[in-house]
Symmetry: C2
Subunit: 211 residues, 2 copies
């Protein structure tokens, strides 16, 4: 198909597709002449994934490129690629070690990991983005004076563990390795708004139930 049809079916203007091509989020089409290119179903599928990641998942264009690059990096093995896709996501600066709120947050998180039996990350420099984001968030809660120790976090951790089982079951339903990796990316990112929306709706429901 031509650019115009790709645009029509993929839900993005031709200008936006050209932008994505420039930014390396989409592979160039097969050139059929000096000034024309042909796109296939793969391009359409990729475009839809990119749109969903950016519009629904709130991922930046730069991060989407990272994720997609990791997902199709043939040099990594299956397991690594599954993780790499999500590990390359956010980038926050290192926490300030001298801040007492940060220290409290770190202790809470370390306690949580131990209680859940999860592998502790070694060394500050190597913390995964998710781990750093967790510490940042707990730090903010501590600064505001909300209780956010291991015992408060534990129920959330247990629920997260259950979520992971459900999520990975969905990923493993995919027949091929490539599809599993794409599914891992899509489901990791796109189930986030699902989960957050459900939580807010559940708040409303539970709040109504209590009053």
């Amino acid at each position: 198909m031509r650019l115009a049809e790709l645009s029509e079916r993929g839900g993005a203007s031709t200008a936006t597709i050209k932008y994505y091509l420039r930014e390396g989020l989409l592979q160039p089409g097969r050139r059929i002449s000096a000034t024309q290119a042909e796109y296939g179903e793969d391009h359409l599928r990729r475009l839809r994934l990119v749109r969903a990641l950016i519009q629904i998942g709130g991922v930046s264009v730069a991060d989407a490129r990272e994720v997609i690059a990791a997902a199709e990096d043939e040099s990594l093995d299956h397991h690594l690629r599954l993780g790499a896709a999500t590990r390359s996501l956010p980038c926050v600066e290192r926490p300030d070690e001298d801040d007492p709120a940060v220290a409290t947050a770190r202790r809470s998180v370390d306690g949580l990991l131990e209680a859940l039996g999860w592998a502790p990350d070694s060394g500050t420099d190597l913390l995964s983005p998710a781990h750093r984001r967790l510490i940042d968030s707990v730090t903010a809660l501590v600064r505001l004076g909300y209780p956010c120790g291991t015992e408060q976090l534990l129920p959330y951790g247990r629920l997260a563990a259950q979520l992971a089982v459900t999520d990975l079951d969905l990923v493993e339903e995919q027949p091929t390795a490539t599809e599993q990796i794409e599914a891992a990316v899509a489901l990791t990112v796109l189930y986030e708004p699902v989960l957050l929306s459900l939580r807010r709706m559940a708040h409303a429901e539970e709040s109504a139930r209590r009053l």
Copy 2:
């Protein structure tokens, strides 16, 4: 305290605080002369909440203003204010009714609400932001070809219901009504990154466990 001290303790530059004052996120200080103002612990606490909502929670300045206005609107009763704070958060456009993917998503979500025994929202125009966001997200997953029917959503819904119980327990620990409302806002928004980080860490853990 003066602007400079508020800035120091609140973790925002004086320029940023002036910006927040202009935008109505902070109350002006008590004027002690024509060109000087005095700020109290309330201002500090509010500033920290605003910073956390914006930096950690990813809330826009405009939304933060809405949330805070709702939280301190004395004309609403306690229960309403609890909900209003979160209800005023996101604003996406209405879903396109003609799109088959949207229709599929709506059916899945309606089925989910029924299965969970949650009150169905009446009428398209009145859908809560969370409800619309849920439909949008499910629509994106459907478009990408991932199974996202009621049976796939149900485990997430059940977990969300459990989260809500934990969350509201935390809110009810607060002694006064005002504190409960602030806690509802802070915990709703600031536990979102906590939950998402934990989910990603759980993915890594579960993935490692399976291989």
